[in-house]
Structures are given as C-alpha cells and as structure tokens.
C-alpha cells in the first residue's frame, strides 16, 4: 500500500516535470534534496510533524528551495509536504529518479563520495559499471564526508564499496 502511494506521488511529480519539459532538471534537484534530507533526520521529522501547521512546513520548504531549485521542483516538494507525506519524501524522490532513468532505459547508480566528481570521472565510472555489470546507469553523486576517500556505489540492492571508511572498518575487524 505504501509502495503504491509512493509510486502514485512519484508518477504525479514526474508527469508535472515532463509536462513542463524539466524532467532532468527536476530529477537532479530532487536527488540533491533527497541527499540533504537523508543527512538531516531533524529536517525530515519537521516536515512530517503533524503537530506543525501545514503552512509552517510549506514555508520551510520554500525557504530551503527558493532560489536554489526550479519552480516545478519547489511546487512538487510543497505538494508532497502539504499532503502530509513529508516523511516519505526520500522514497518518493528515489522513485522519481528511478522512473526518469528507466524512461531512458538506464538504472540509477547512487555514488557516495567525500568530494565532488568531475564529469569525466562520472562518465568513466558509468562506463566501468557498464563494462562490469552490463547495465547502463545514470550516476548520481551524494557528497558524504564519512566515506573519507574513494567511492561507494549502490545500484539497486548491489553495493560496490571502495571507500577508505570501508578499508578502515576492515582493519578494525582484523584486530578482533
């Protein structure tokens, strides 16, 4: 039931973005907004707090996205928050991104990195993933300082962890 609801909101957002001809821009902006939400649980809690007036939650969204995202992205997020589904925003955005990639016959590769990747690195990474998995992917980078160095790539349920953090964890485990 929850998946159906998330799919419904994702299709609605994607339909609006496609109708406005801004699907790729909206997809990118929503992906970045979802990354910001995942790193801030307090923000997710605030946007899904039923005790907080809807107007107040909508004002928070406008303050966050005004001038940093397109009107369509701002409207889509506001619509979800006003509908009382702020807690489902990350999952809805993931569904939107996956549907955009699927429309291009691609999968989404969520890459966590401590630093921003260059376009060359993104394209080479996409090519490397295709050569190793046979899947065309859209690389979506999430800046995550906790990985320290290297990359962590998630494609669906598959995870390719080449981060320094992972090496340090392996080192810690070797001591036990």
């Amino acid at each position: 039931m929850a998946d159906n609801r998330i799919d419904g909101y994702a299709e609605a957002v994607l339909a609006v973005a496609t109708a406005e001809g801004q699907s790729e821009i909206v997809e990118d902006e929503l992906f970045r907004f979802a990354a910001a939400l995942r790193s801030n649980d307090e923000l997710v809690g605030t946007l899904s707090d039923p005790q907080l007036p809807i107007e107040r939650r909508q004002k928070i969204v406008e303050d966050l996205l005004s001038g940093k995202a397109s009107t369509v992205t701002n409207a889509a997020v506001s619509m979800i928050v006003v509908a009382g589904r702020g807690g489902d925003l990350p999952e809805i955005i993931d569904a939107v991104v996956e549907r955009c990639s699927a429309s291009r016959n691609r999968a989404v590769a969520r890459v966590r990195s401590a630093v921003e990747l260059t376009d060359d690195q993104k394209s080479r990474l996409a090519a490397a993933i295709k050569s190793s998995t046979g899947t065309e992917v859209d690389v979506r980078v999430i800046i995550d300082p906790s990985v320290l160095g290297g990359l962590v790539t998630e494609i669906g349920d598959d995870v390719i962890d080449g981060s320094v953090r992972h090496r340090l964890n392996q080192l810690r485990e070797s001591f036990r």
């Binding site: 630093v115 990474l125 490397a128 160095g149 990359l151 390719i160 080449g162 320094v164 036990r176």
Partner: protein, 241 residues
C-alpha cells in the same frame, strides 16, 4: 457401736457395780481414829467420872490406861497387809468379776480376736494377691521395658545409619557443588579474561584505527582523493575482465 463392744461395756458396768456393792460392807465396818478415841473417852469417863479429873493425883493409873488406848487408836494399819475383811470382800468381788469376765468377756474378746485374725488373714491374702499382681505388673513392665529398649536401640541404629547415609549424600552433594562452583569460577575467570582481552583488542583497534583515520584524513588532499576515485573506477572496470 457393735454388739461385742456393747457386751464388753455391759460387763464392765456390772463388774463395777458388783465391786461397789461388795466394797460397801468393808467401808461400813472400818473404825476411824476419831470414833476410836471417842469410844475410849467414853469408857474412861464412865470409869473416872469426868475426864478432867485424870490430871489429878491418884488417877495416874487411869490416865496411863487412857493414853495407851488413844495410842492404840492412833496406831496406823499395815501398809502392806490389808485388813482381813478387805481381803474377804475384795477376794469375793474379784472372783465374781473373774467369773463374769470368763463367762461374758472371754468369748467376746475371743470373737473379736477371731474376727481380727480373720480380717488380718484376709488382708494378708489381699496383700499377697496385690503383691503377686504387682510382681506380675513388674514382670510385664520389665518385659515391656526390655522391648522398648530393644526398639529404642533399633531406632537409634536406624537413625545412625540414616544419619550416615545423609552425611554421605551431603558430603557427595557438597563435593559436587564445590566442583561445579570451581568449574563455574574457572569459566567466569576464562570469560572475564576473554572479555578483557576482547575489550583490550577493541580498544587497541579503536586507537589504531583512529590514529590511521587521523593520518589518512590529514593526507587526503584533492590529488589523493582524485587518485582514490580513479583507482576505484579502474577497479570496477577491471572487475569484469
């Protein structure tokens, strides 16, 4: 009051009456000193006229005779030998009393003695019977006492055996408990040692990894980050081939 006692009391009363009646003539015939002196004074007065004239000369013979008569009156009877009439009357009374006592008292006394003897014999027989019963009770009691002693000895032996068994069981259980406690203590010590070792390892690894992380973080400049990303991409690309 029983019939025998009444007979004895009646015999005593009759005997007392007989003695009193028999003794009365003896008292009646006895002459006192006063009466004797009076009689002698009368005889002397008849002989000389007036008693006062006895002091006068010529009456010395009559005076001496009167003195002798008074001395004879004053002279006391024998303290040992009673008077003849007393012997006669006393002897008669005694014989009457003796006959009466033989006639009435002896059978009564004999009957009382027989009854008393019969009572004593009955009491002795009862005492013998009681003694026999007592002896029997004593024998039974001794037998019961012996049985009780034997039973008590058996109980004591059983209790002692049970105490020995209990002691052995407790000893075995205590030894088992001690062994279990010892094993548990050894396991606890081993677990504590392992936990301490694990904690130490965790702390060492935390320190080592923390130090490594600080060193890596200090050396992660942009070129190093770029090199790490490129190495990752190459590794992913080479994973298929």
């Amino acid at each position: 009051m029983t019939r025998r006692i009444r007979h004895i009391a009646a015999a005593a009363v009759i005997a007392g009456a007989v003695v009193a009646v028999q003794a009365a003539p003896a008292f009646a015939s006895e002459e006192t000193v006063g009466s004797c002196a009076a009689v002698e004074a009368i005889h002397t007065q008849e002989a000389v006229g007036e008693l006062a004239t006895l002091e006068e000369p010529g009456n010395e013979e009559a005076l001496k005779k009167f003195d002798d008569a008074l001395d004879a009156c004053i002279e006391a009877p024998s303290p040992i030998i009673p008077a003849t009439n007393e012997i006669i009357w006393g002897g008669g009374a005694f014989m009457v009393l003796l006959i009466f006592m033989i006639w009435k008292g002896v059978p009564a006394v004999r009957g009382a003695m027989d009854q008393r003897a019969e009572k004593i014999r009955t009491d002795l027989e009862a005492a013998d019977q009681a003694k026999a019963e007592a002896v029997k009770i004593k024998t039974d009691h001794a037998a019961e006492l012996a049985g009780a002693k034997a039973e008590a000895a058996a109980l004591i032996d059983e209790a002692r055996a049970q105490a020995d068994r209990l002691k052995a069981e407790l000893s075995a259980r205590a030894e088992a408990d001690i062994a279990e406690m010892r094993e548990r203590a050894a396991a606890d010590i081993e677990a504590g040692r392992a936990q301490a070792l694990a904690d130490l390892r965790a702390e060492v690894s935390q320190i080592a990894v923390g130090a490594a992380e600080r060193v890596i973080h200090a050396n992660l400049d942009p070129s190093t980050q770029r090199a790490l990303v490129d190495a990752y991409i190459d590794e992913v690309a080479g994973a298929n081939g």
